[in-house]
Amino acid sequence: MKAAVLREQNKPMEIEEVQISKPGPREVLVRPIAAGVCHSDLHFLDGSYPYMLPTILGHESAGVVEEVGKDVTYVKKGDHVITCLSAFCGHCNKCLTGHLSLCQSPEVSRAPEVESRLSIGGETVHQFLNLSSFAELMLIHEHALVKVREDMPMDRAALIGCSTTTGVGAVFHTAGVEPGSIVAVIGCGGVGLAAINGAAIAGASMVIAVDMVDSKLELAKAVGATHTINARSGNAVGEVLELTKGGCDYTFEAIGLKATAEQAFQMLCSGGTATIIGMIPVGTMVELHGVDFLMEKKIQGSNMGSNRFRIDMPRFVDFYLSGKLHLDQMISKHIKLADVNTALNALKSGEEARHVIMFDQ
């Protein structure tokens, strides 16, 4: 099969012929139909998050089951599925207490002494987050996918595989936004827009979108923002505090920067909660004013929207098909696998929402 292989950080990926192993007992071979190009892929391409190389990036996809391992009963050939990097073992403390997205068990990967799922001429290709979706085929653990209804368009379904689940999940699960709350979201990329959409679905009375790109603020309005602030003014915190007359009940940071994480905390009212969704580079420290804790302000992380994706993703599909979840506007372009480097460069500019790779069928 062909795949976009990353051999060196900050260098373009090359389309190469990659060998893929046969499904093990609990593995599923998936033929992706669509794969989103996500800003998180960029973090691993530019090295702000280290990863073993060579690898095949991509972690947001939807496709069709091609073959299943002998012990797999959940799906069969031909089923439509969304993949998810929150592969869960199902029996560790995190899984059994309902925190499947925090499962750390390595058993959903192949053990180091076993043949790797992906290789080139005998050389191991490290599977990215147990998925590697910039490829014509994916070999994944059965707990890294969910079945979805077949009337769901695959390109929209792919977005649910990461950005939607991360953004909407942060609002529903990590923060637990109540109807009538005042919400601000910093960063209007795919995840931030999903958080805005999620806050609107949750019934927030005010949803403030903060970004430095006007076109993204327009998109934010289309998916549920009631107010927008262009942070180029340099005083986004002050503007939010003025607009809300005292601060937000919930803020969400969807960029991954120290400065914006601190701003998310500064935008809170007393008792408010800031949720950091963005991937802040390894080694970066975040500074807060200690006295603010006397006001019961809280700050927390969110990983993949604290998802239980086998429950969440079919619900998000229903939300899309019933008009509540706005995924059409999230896709700025459909591309071929060979154009994946161009799509990642476009993400760097911050001007476009999301490119989705469509595979030949």
Partner: protein, 74 residues
């Protein structure tokens, strides 16, 4: 002889150790792979030298800033 301690940048689990005590190692060479939140994270040496000791084993849980190995600097 001067030594350098290689530390973990992240909380995770030792997935695979790629070199052994006594092996030569170069700057930016990979010594081991950690797994954290399903990510395979390489641990690289900041110096060239020889591996004096490896302080962890596959499957060990490691904390951020924990010593993983000691390198005798060339």
């Amino acid at each position: 002889m001067a030594t350098e301690r290689i530390k973990s940048e992240i909380t995770g689990t030792v997935w695979k150790i790629l070199l052994a005590e006594g092996d030569a190692i170069q700057v930016e060479s990979e010594l081991m792979i950690l797994e954290s939140m399903k990510m395979e994270i390489p641990v690289e040496s900041a110096v060239s030298g020889r591996i004096q000791s490896i302080l962890v084993a596959p499957g060990d849980a490691v904390d951020e800033d924990q010593d993983l190995a000691i390198i005798e600097i060339d």
